[in-house]
Amino acid sequence: MYEDMVTARLYEERLQEEYMEGKRPGFDISAGEVPGELHLAAGQEAAAVGVCHHLRDDDTVTAPHRPHHVAIAKGVDLKRMTAEIFGRETGLCHGKGGHMHLFDPDVNFACSGIIAQGCPPAVGAGMAAKKRNTDSVAVAYLGEGAIDQGGFLESLNMASVHDLPVVFVIEDNDWAISMPKERVTSPQDGSARADGFDMHGVRVDSDDARAVYEAGAEAVGRARDGNGPTVLEVQVHRRMGHFMGDPETYRPEEDQERAAERDSIERLAADMREFGIDDEELEEIRDRAAERVDEAVTWAKQQPLPEPEAAHDHVFTNPPSGVTDEEPEFSDAGAAAGGDD
């Protein structure tokens, strides 16, 4: 668990550096090797590993626009995910998706950049598991800003009324871009939403990965045993801006300081020391994580960019006639026969 948290943190730090390459001076979001928006999750790792460490590859996770830590905890292929973020041909989505839209069917991981819209597909995955009588579960991640969205609330009802194996994990980092939850959400306790839908709700009010792990065990176990859905809310702290380039002028200094102080990784490290794990061992874990991150980024950057024409591929799995994956080849025979090869 600690190793995944550290990997996620180092990964985000590395991406932050890589993202800034080519963007300065005068920050330009469309410049550099990794253009577009980049939402980093440093400070939110406990919510990812605390739940995902109870999951198997056949369990489904849907993540929102801030997905890397969850992807790492779920076991998404780090190299191909990185290649995707760098827009490479060998990326998870062949360069079509980018950082907010990572799909790894090998471990049943998917993302959406539209707020709360990962919830309904998670309900669908839960429904499939129930219909097929398997014991796999589905987990939908969302931010506290997403809990006012219809897609979330409608999903809670569906999951509850059909008793589906779904866990909704709310990462409460107090902010939805510049909007603090007290100004836009009532009531603010996301886990309390569960009450209205006659399902279990629990809130872990600290950045404590061990407490999340315990709550995650219970929620995932309940779903796996056929005992229905749970809303699990976890207090986390967003250490960075909403997205890279966010001037954060809305955010009071104290809030940033609190985020720096309440660090779940340091907290877990302290716990581990108490259990007799020495600094050397922690350092080894860190080195392993750093190496893994470096390998992934180095590999990704060596990968080829897609050909421009590849933009036309993959619109359909089964392209209708007239829409082809390939440039049409007009061999004489084909042309004479009037068409299809």
């Binding site: 979001i29 469309s30 998706g97 707020i115 006012d148 809305y250 960019l305 933009a311």
Partner: protein
């Protein structure tokens, strides 16, 4: 005001400044005008669409709302029906899906269904466009979707001068107006704009009537019809073509509903050739509409036609592919050359 008069005003502004100036002046003049959206208060709008409004008008009139597009866009409809003049911002047009019922069944149809006993004097502002590698859920242009559905007026400014005049009009209009601004034109610090949209803007109020296209460049050889960002790409292409001895006329539609078919037709009667350029998907869109209206009115005037739009694929993330699908100045020039042949 003619373009000569525009030149004389001296003071230039970015498109976002010009928009905000019109909103502020309407808010000063009429207590019933208010603005709501995500991150519009403290942040000042992710795309600088409300910079400074909170300071002058306070939270009652510049309201951050929950991430609940159905609720707040629908609330704008309700407030408008109650006689207020709300402006509601949908941060990216791509998010319309979560609230489309409020937009196209309520906002757009209530006037008609009520036999005009109800009116809906609201403005829906929204950011459109790609060119910064933000992938398929954050880069769409969707002019065609909104203009296709009856009951709402659709406005697409391409310069600061137009942005201000059209915004004054939009707020004063007794019907719902969708005001679609291209991110790349706003003059945001982190997304450099081309030079074109920053134009002289008079300090005083003025309106630009809906349904009046603007001839942004006069020419005798080919008519290029476009809107939004692509006005600037077409003008750039026209400059290149001028060196090759091709004189292109560039028409900026400025509003899609109502649509100024007359100006387009007049120009085609003069040049004989038509190129329509759009950043939206090609099928069932603006290009088809413009070409068919010219063909219907005066088929004989039309010697050659080309359209340049996004092929029917979602906007891909990776740069080579995004560049391939979003028309550039060179694609426009190529199309103009081909109709000139």
């Amino acid at each position: 005001m003619s373009s000569q008069e525009q030149q004389q005003t001296g003071r230039t502004a970015t498109m976002s400044d010009a928009m905000v100036e019109a909103i502020a002046s309407e808010m000063r003049a009429d207590e019933e005008v208010f603005y709501m959206g995500e991150d519009v208060a403290d942040y000042g709008g992710i795309f600088d669409s409300t910079t400074g409004l909170l300071d002058e008008f306070g939270r009652d009139r510049v309201m951050d709302v929950p991430i609940s597009e159905t609720a707040y866009l629908g609330a704008a409809v309700g407030a408008a029906q109650a006689g207020m003049r709300p402006i509601a911002e949908l941060m990216f047009v791509d998010f319309f899906g979560v609230a489309m019922d409020q937009i196209y069944n309520q906002m757009a149809k209530n006037t008609y269904m009520s036999g005009a006993s109800v009116s809906v004097p609201m403005v829906l502002t929204t950011a459109v466009g790609g060119t910064y590698n933000d992938a398929a859920q954050h880069s769409q242009t969707l002019y065609g979707t909104f203009a296709h559905l009856p009951g709402m007026k659709v406005v697409v400014p391409s310069t600061a001068y137009d942005a201000k005049g059209l915004m004054h009009n939009a707020i004063r209009d007794d019907d719902p107006v969708v005001y679609m601004f291209h991110k790349r034109l706003m003059g945001i610090g982190w997304m450099p704009a081309p030079d074109g949209p920053k134009t002289p803007v008079p300090e005083e109020e003025y309106t630009i009537p809906f349904g009046k296209a603007d001839v942004k460049r006069e020419g005798d050889d080919v008519t290029v019809v476009t809107l939004g960002l692509h006005v600037h790409r077409a003008l750039e292409a026209a400059e290149t073509l001028a060196h090759e001895g091709i004189d292109a006329e560039v028409i900026d539609l400025r509003t899609l509903k109502p649509l100024d078919r007359e100006t387009v037709l007049e120009s085609v009667r003069k040049t004989g050739s038509l190129v329509v350029v759009d950043e939206d998907y090609q099928s069932y869109g603006v290009t088809g509409e413009i070409i068919s209206s010219v063909a219907e009115s005066d088929l004989d005037a039309l010697e050659a036609v080309e359209r340049v739009a996004v092929p029917d694929v979602p906007i891909p993330y990776s740069r080579p592919m995004e560049d391939a699908v979003i028309p550039g100045a060179e694609d426009v020039a190529e199309a103009v050359r081909s109709v000139g042949e």
